[in-house]
Symmetry: C2
């Protein structure tokens, strides 16, 4: 079968790889009908060393179950399913609390931790299929597919940011980043009733979509200038919640600048740093809280799906390009060049 | 009048200084009847450079109002009052939300930011007296004075840690540090109903008091050994909440080691570092939250006082030594040497 491999920064290739097959009695084999390139894939695309590759790519997908191991009970051959970016059993104490990304099952993992599988491919072996996969009640050619595909990562991740930030109807929110996660953090903050949603982003086509998703204000400047603009929009004090959907240190510093005393910085952009300012002059002195992490999107699929199915929301609007497998390398480059917001892949 | 000045690390002196006097119409002049040395005073006592001194010391006190400016309405001459370690107007939007340490009044400040005043002295000028001072309904020689004095900082600070950590009856808690704040964080976690309270501390007389305050377990080891011990007490996963009452980097690292995935590290020990690990390998990957800061103890005085007045709790047990002003330099040294837990000063 064909799959996507990254050999190093800027070097993505489509190659023939051994067919994925069932290995464990709890596995399912899924023929992928929809996948995509993630903003987080752009981090290794910018910096991966050749000695760390090649790596199978892709952690967002939906598809049709082709086969199941003998212990799988919740999905069957022919079902259309979506998979979160984390494999989990959905039964351990952490999963029961909704923290599937900390599932303690020995096979629990991120897709990036499965060296022989990836979502940007023709097929995939799904471990812990009962816990991981969720059946979709639509046909594989439904117009809702792009929106349902966002349940695998970007919508659930934006929603996690807003939830961990404690967004409610008395909350002013700043969203840092106009990528797919940032825009869906806007949609999520709107869904939770935020009083004000300030989107910080520099790409007008994206921030226009952000306004459509619920942003009340857009700030296109960055650094001190951007911080001043947000403060001017909030009576000088900044916002109660900042949703940080980038992951680079300048975004963290910007979050410190726009967050209100006593507020929360909720991070879902994967940090490209380990150490950051948290002392008296940054978080501590003003009682700023830091929250977030890899989203347990499995916990949110059932909650978010109904609004997609009935057309209330259309998170799939973040896809502005579609390609087949052969177009994936160009899709990475287009996203890195900010020509594409998010690329949908139909293998 | 006589007051305490720090000239540098290890150099604390009692000297004659100009008498404190009313300067603003919102000031009160307080004759101090009870004060103390704070664990946070030990940070400059360990590291202060002579060029940064001399500094007036003391931010915890109670006393009798001697005079008030013409705009003061809530306290009057002869009242016994307690003051929080932060000056605030108690009316701005942050004070109304209970975050008095971020009061936006131009005169709002920490006592450490008032160069000509300090609580380890015979008297003190209290700015924003209506917002800052709280009248105590006891006589100046009441046996409750030591406990009421803890409302100025250490009890409210321990309580802030527990509140910001979200402690409730379904919460397992680790408290790092057996100083006065750590022990009163134990008492606070107990008050909020914590299911389990593990106190990490090495001084048995202190941890014995911690048990009296509600600790269910004591871990006297530190570093990896201490982390392993806490994990052994919690089914391997650590505790939902960690109350960090030290402020040094090893305590932060210990907190990372004992906190459960999805849990909270609530810091009230003043950080003696600015940068700390917060990336994928520390906070982010396991969705650990970071909370805390300087406690708005003014917000908690009315809430915590009744249990002191009726004898339900006795936070004043953290005082294990009493001195007059002349004994303050030795008090600092005894606390630094861990011979005294907390020194009560009767000027």
């Amino acid at each position: 079968m064909r799959a996507t491999l990254m050999y190093g920064a800027g070097d993505v290739r489509i190659e023939n790889v051994p067919d994925s097959v069932i290995k464990q009695p709890t596995d399912a084999l899924v023929r992928i009908t929809g996948s995509c390139v993630c903003g987080s894939d752009l981090h290794p695309y910018a910096s991966m060393k050749p000695e760390d590759g090649p790596a199978r790519m892709g952690h967002e997908f939906l598809g049709i179950v082709e086969a199941t191991g003998p212990e799988v009970t919740t999905v069957k051959k022919g079902d259309l399913v979506v998979a979160p970016f984390a494999i989990s059993d959905n039964t351990c104490e952490f999963c029961r609390e909704g923290l599937h990304t900390s599932c303690i099952h020995p096979q629990a993992n991120f897709w990036d931790g499965e060296p022989d599988e990836g979502g940007q491919a023709e097929a995939i072996r799904v471990p812990l299929a009962d816990g991981t996969l969720v059946k979709l009640p639509v046909a594989p050619d439904s117009a809702l597919i792009p929106s349902l595909l966002t349940l695998s990562d970007v919508f659930g991740t934006g929603y996690h940011a807003a939830l961990m930030g404690g967004v409610n109807e008395r909350t002013r929110v700043t969203v840092i980043g106009d990528g797919a996660v940032g825009l869906l953090a806007v949609l999520s903050a709107k869904r939770l009733g935020a009083e004000q949603i300030i989107l910080m982003g520099r790409h007008q086509t994206r921030t226009d979509l952000g306004r459509e998703f619920g942003a009340t204000d857009v700030v296109s400047t960055r650094g001190e200038e951007g911080i001043d603009a947000v403060r001017a929009l909030t009576g000088g004090h900044g916002t109660h919640v900042v949703l940080e959907a980038v992951g680079h240190m300048p975004a963290y510093e910007q979050a410190l600048g726009v967050v209100r005393a006593g507020g929360v910085i909720s991070r879902v952009g994967v940090p490209q740093y380990e150490d950051a300012p948290v002392g008296f002059g940054s978080l501590f002195g003003r009682n700023i809280r830091l929250a977030g992490g890899p989203a347990p999107v499995r916990a949110y699929i059932e909650e978010l799906m109904p609004d997609i199915l009935d057309g209330t929301i259309e998170p799939g609007k973040v896809f502005d390009a579609t390609t087949d497998l052969d177009g994936i390398p160009a899709g990475y480059q287009d996203m890195a060049d900010r020509k594409s917001l998010k690329v949908l892949v139909k293998p």
